[in-house]
């Protein structure tokens, strides 16, 4: 009975197998470390998502909801003109906001990384941009109301400076207000990733391009923009998903002229009409997923973030 262990102990090469079990394989250690995260993501995100996918096929009426497998919710949702309208309007907002935040975000990032020479000032300026983020989105949204209203600060200043004779009406409770608010809230989401990408550009590349005779404009097009692609893509993903998923800003700032996909959803939830709400949610998720997947083709997200 003791022959085998003795044999193992005697032959050095075999001894390895006896003691290998003492050290746990690395992937087990990783799994133990990552299990809380996995637990939260699966139980509080993946399963609930699955849940509303399931519920989207259920039946409902005025008194309650019933497990079933029907496609009525989807049919109703996708054939209503209101749905198309609200998606188009949300998409329009998203595209406009994306363009504006990209413009601001790119130029600000470019300014901070390439034009500001002192690291201390750069950090300070970046902090200045980030500070408003520490206030809740709700407050920052309603902050626009006294600013843009007919008697608001902007109109007062504009009239005081003689720019207009009558207060401007379109400023508040309009699509303009919605877009302004989105830009205010989400530009930082562009500045951050783009600045990050730009900072990683090796300065020697720019110098080499300059040596080769490239004008600053060409350097921008040939060197800086391609190398900031990742940041632009990441920022775009963040801005798009935030706009498409918003329910508060549109409600507050559009004066009832526009709806957002999610605010309609929220109304249905308040009315306890879970199946159609769920169907709406699923359609939105698929839509957003397709857009994000499209944007992720530009950048290997995993490599960028885990690197």
């Amino acid at each position: 009975m003791t022959v085998l262990p003795l044999a193992i102990a005697a032959v050095p090469r075999l001894r390895r197998f006896a003691s290998a079990s003492r050290r746990p394989p690395p992937w087990i250690v990783s799994w133990l470390q990552v299990s809380p995260l996995a637990f939260v993501l699966v139980v509080l995100f993946a399963l609930p998502t699955l849940l509303f996918v399931v519920v989207s096929f259920w039946d409902y009426d005025r008194t309650g909801i019933y497990p079933a497998f029907i496609l009525d919710n989807y049919r109703d949702l996708l054939t209503t003109p209101a749905t198309i309208r609200v998606y188009v309007s949300s998409l329009a907002f998203a595209v406009i906001v994306w363009a504006v935040t990209l413009f601001f975000g790119f130029n600000i990032a470019h300014f901070l990384i390439f034009h500001v020479r002192s690291a201390a000032i750069r950090t300070l300026l970046f902090l200045l941009c980030a500070i408003p983020f520490w206030t809740s989105g709700i407050i920052r949204t309603i902050a626009w109301i006294p600013f843009l209203g007919r008697n608001g600060a902007f109109n007062q200043i504009a009239m005081g400076l003689g720019l207009t004779s009558k207060p401007l009406d379109f400023l508040l409770f309009s699509s303009f207000a919605v877009i302004i608010t989105y830009v205010n809230l989400f530009t930082l989401l562009m500045v951050g990733p783009i600045a990050n990408s730009m900072a990683k550009i090796d300065p020697a590349l720019i110098e080499a391009a300059r040596d080769a005779g490239a004008s600053r404009w060409r350097i921008m097009i040939e060197v800086i923009i391609p190398l900031s692609k990742t940041g632009i893509a990441l920022g775009s993903i963040l801005v798009f998903t935030q706009v498409m998923g918003d329910f508060f800003v549109v409600k507050q700032m559009s004066g009832g002229q526009s709806a957002s996909i999610v605010s309609t959803l929220a109304t249905e939830i308040q009315a306890m009409q879970y199946p159609p709400a769920a169907a709406s949610a699923v359609v939105l998720v698929i839509f957003v997923a397709l857009m994000v997947a499209g944007m992720m083709r530009v950048v290997d997200v995993r490599k960028e973030l885990v690197k």
Binding site: P12, R13, R15, R16, S19
Partner: protein
């Protein structure tokens, strides 16, 4: 020859282990690549051993396997006749000095040095006292309260040394300890390391890619290439008689030329520019002339196709200077030509 000694604790006569470190057919495989290919080596007691070779030759992997930071794929490692192959790092009797010193940035020098004692549960007063002793040993006592970031490279290295030595290792492993230093500091630290090794009477295993460093320091020089040991011996043995073409080229200062019975290696400083006489010679053309102070290096392109060089004492050169483009004949004495194998 066995060495006998008396075990002080038991007053019994014991056989002392002959070697500090023994590698027995040690292999390291990463997926498909073989980084270290079944090497065997015996390092005598209290010797300074240098592992030398180009990048990727496996010297660092070997060092890390001895330390226990890499798992051995196959083979055994013995330290003073104790098989440590499966033992964790801390129980092997080794200590490692990392390439960038890896001093804990959040601890001051004193706490860095005292770290291993703290891990063992030694009380604060005692471990601080011990740490100060070792700081004295490396002449860094007044730096005790400083943080590593406040130290220069050379100073950091001494702290790293003290931190390793406080564990009273039987073998000290150094991973390219001098690479990060400027040339002047490098030479000074070299002398210190050698002195320390003599004083402490333990084995140092020092990985480097610099031949000069290895030749200056080593009692035992081990030249590696592609996971194998190509030659091991004293620096003099290797320099006087390189075993193969790789060694001759890597060590430097040798010409590899075709001889009557195969390739031979001849030391460049034993070659002269002269007339083709009865002795060994080879014709070629001067490609470059480099003044190096005490010697002048004349590079030649030989007719047989190789490149060669002659290291001439300055007087000899300036007595009969040659210029790039001149035809020249390399001459040497047969006694200085050593046959080398191709691989």
């Amino acid at each position: 020859m066995m060495r006998l000694a008396t075990n002080q604790a038991t007053q019994r006569t014991v056989v002392e282990p002959r070697f500090d470190v023994e590698l027995v057919a040690v292999t390291k495989r990463y997926d498909r690549t073989v980084a270290v290919d079944a090497i065997s080596l015996r390092i005598p007691r209290a010797s300074y051993c240098c592992l030398l070779g180009p990048s990727g030759c496996g010297k660092t992997s070997t060092l890390r396997m001895i330390a226990g930071h890499e798992i051995v794929t196959d083979g055994d490692i013995l330290i003073r006749d104790r098989n440590v192959t499966d033992l964790p790092t801390a129980r092997r009797g080794t200590a490692m000095m990392f390439q960038n010193y890896a001093l804990f940035p959040h601890l001051n020098c004193l706490d860095n040095v005292a770290f291993s004692l703290k891990m063992r549960g030694v009380g604060k007063a005692e471990r601080h006292a011990r740490a100060r002793e070792f700081l004295e040993l490396v002449e860094m006592a007044e730096f005790a309260p400083r943080l590593p970031a406040q130290l220069s490279g050379g100073q950091q290295q001494r702290i790293a040394l003290a931190r390793s030595l406080i564990t009273e290792p039987q073998v000290l492993l150094l991973d390219e300890p001098l690479s990060a230093l400027d040339p002047f500091l490098r030479v000074r630290m070299r002398e210190e390391l050698k002195r320390l090794q003599r004083e402490l009477g333990i084995t140092f295993i020092h990985v480097t890619h610099s031949q000069d460093e290895a030749m200056a320091l080593a009692d035992l020089m081990v030249v590696m290439d592609q996971g194998q040991i190509r030659q091991a011996g004293t620096p003099r043995q290797i320099f006087e008689a390189p075993a193969n073409v790789f060694i001759a080229r890597f060590i430097g200062g040798h010409n590899v030329l075709p001889g009557p019975r195969g390739l031979v290696a001849v030391r460049a400083d034993r070659c002269r520019i002269g007339q083709a006489g009865n002795g060994a010679h080879s014709s070629g053309r001067v490609v470059a002339v480099e003044y190096q102070g005490p010697v002048v290096r004349v590079s030649l392109q030989m007719q047989s196709g190789e490149q060669a060089a002659a290291l001439l004492p300055d007087n000899t050169y300036f007595a009969a200077p040659v210029q790039p483009g001149d035809p020249a004949t390399l001459v040497w004495s047969e006694a200085d030509a050593h046959p080398v194998t191709v691989s």
